[in-house]
């Protein structure tokens, strides 16, 4: 691997700091300017948590998953069931069985239940999905996502279906979201540096060879899948307790799938730097387009872009990046460590840098 700092523990620390500090500083500064930006910041940090979670699976295994939003659905609804006050639950979800109506957990435990439930689901589904090769796995993950959405859409007694489920305690703010995003990033780096991460990355380049060398490809993928589902679900839980409401209407989760995949792909799905940069750029673009859709005051006129513009804009950004730079803006590289930090690491890699694409 050319010049990858995440192969040493110093590099892990370096990568965490060089990405984490700007994220933290920018988030805290922007959030302190007022409630409007604080909301945008919180939302973006929650997306960052989800994207980093997605990166743990896609970046390490090389398999695209179109199914991770299912874990957001499962995690956020479970946390809602656990934390909405019983008196309110009786009114809003009369179809819920009695024992569910009486449960009332604190936000942390409730969120944990959501995350664990998603992880459990990932484990069970992963047993099947992880046996599949690249594209087949992607298609199956999409089918899985559809199953979950159909179920939650129609399971009205528990989810209120396409109507909104409200009454979630609202506790997620910029600081909590920042903590979640930083923890997710650290987890991603540690996973990448662990034996599992290294082995899984080896299978990404050549699954057959890795298999022949005795690597249990399916097991490695499954571990990554479960960890990644848990992180993504944690983002989902926060999202629920940030908005205070959940819904499955109008493709929200498909749009979310698109957004987090786009963020990862635009930045470069093979590095944590890519995940972070992708989130930053697309969050900015999305916010800009959202302003346009809301209306743009020029003198006495308000120009309002038709709804849908935001999504079209994101789609086009993603297409342009994919076509001009299929590896993403970072080309799958981390931020390089300065030489004085990494003298030992770099030798021998030098002549390979940049030359690997020549063959085609």
């Amino acid at each position: 691997m050319r010049n990858d700092p995440t192969h040493s523990w110093q590099g892990i620390v370096w990568t965490f700091l060089v990405l984490g500090i700007p994220v933290a500083v920018a988030a805290l500064l922007l959030a302190s300017t007022g409630p409007v930006l604080a909301r945008v910041v919180t939302d973006t940090l929650i997306k960052l948590t989800m994207v980093v979670g997605l990166y743990i699976f896609i970046g390490n295994s090389g398999i695209f998953s179109f199914g991770h939003a299912a874990f957001i659905v499962v995690g956020s609804y479970a946390s809602a069931w656990m934390t909405i006050p019983p008196t309110f639950k009786k009114v809003i979800l009369p179809g819920l069985p009695a024992f569910m109506q009486s449960i009332h957990l604190d936000p942390f435990t409730g969120g944990l239940v959501g995350v664990l439930l998603a992880a459990l689901l990932a484990f069970v589904i992963g047993l099947a999905l992880m046996r599949l090769a690249g594209i087949a796995a992607s298609i199956a993950s999409f089918a899985f996502f559809s199953v979950i959405v159909v179920i939650y859409n129609n399971w009205t007694g528990w989810t209120k279906g396409t109507a909104s489920l409200v009454g979630l305690p609202v506790y997620a703010g910029p600081k909590l979201a920042l903590a979640a995003a930083l923890i997710a990033m650290l987890l991603a780096l540690l996973f990448q540096y662990s034996r599992y991460g290294l082995l899984l990355r080896a299978t990404r380049e050549d699954a057959a060879a890795a298999r022949a060398a005795g690597v249990e490809v399916e097991r490695m993928r499954l571990i990554a899948f479960v960890v990644s589902a848990a992180v993504v679900a944690a983002g989902g839980v926060l999202q629920g307790h940030f908005n205070g409401a959940l819904t499955t209407t109008a493709n929200v989760h498909l749009n979310l799938t698109f957004l987090i995949l786009a963020m990862l792909v635009v930045g470069g799905m093979r590095s944590l730097a890519g995940a972070v940069i992708g989130v930053a750029i697309l969050a900015f673009v999305a916010e800009l387009l959202r302003q346009l859709e809301r209306g743009w005051q020029i003198g006495d006129f308000t120009i309002t872009a038709p709804s849908g513009l935001g999504q079209v804009g994101l789609g086009i950004v993603m297409l342009v990046v994919l076509i001009s730079r299929p590896q993403g803006l970072t080309k799958g590289r981390e931020i390089p460590m300065p030489n004085w930090l990494s003298r030992r690491e770099r030798q021998g890699d030098a002549e390979l840098i940049g030359s690997t694409q020549n063959a085609r």
């Binding site: 390979l352 030359s355 690997t356 063959a359």
Partner: protein, 246 residues
Amino acid sequence: MSLLKVRELAVQYGAVAALQGVSLDVSSGEVVALIGPNGAGKTSLLSAVAGVVRPRAGTIGFDGQDLVGMPIQKIVRAGIALVPENRDIFTKLTVIENLLIGASTRNDWDGIAQDIERIGELFPALPRLFPRPAGLLSGGEQQMLAIGRALMSRPRLLMLDEPSLGLAPVVTDAVFAGIRTLRAQGMAILLVEQNAVRALSVCDRAHLLSAGIVHFTGTPDEIAHAGDIDAAYFGVPSDVAAQGSA
């Protein structure tokens, strides 16, 4: 007047330098052999000429045109056909479809029909196999089919990559009989072979390639009397190795 003119060709795969400044010519009606050990860069040379691999440096001229950077299909139209090392016949197509697809650049159906007949004469084993899926053919039959398919584009230069690979001697005889006939008809051929004796028996001139460098050029007679072949086959002289990593 030379048809194919390769000058100072260099091909690089990542850190591996497969060819490092190779020059060679093939004139009309001439059969030129390229012999050398495994990994010498023979396939890389043919791939570069066919446009599959983009050279790092050097020029490839064909009949006055510059082939470097030209799309593969245009190179075929210019008159170059490649029979690749592993034959790569289309196993799911029938034998006759394999021949027809070789004529993808042509629309003269009468001529195409005639050429199919001619190929049947060149390799008498083929015609009765025409309706069969090509994947069911034996190795020798596949090699004949691959040559036939290449001829269907009416090339002016035919490039053969190790036609004897994995074939029994009797079958190799049949393949080489075909090559001799083509030579007699005046086809220019660039022949890559590891079986030096076979190659020298059909060629006008031969180049000895090893570690990406041409070590010797000459007629079959000259090569047979030079001692260099052993050196090229069994070990690379140290001065060459030093040059190679530069």
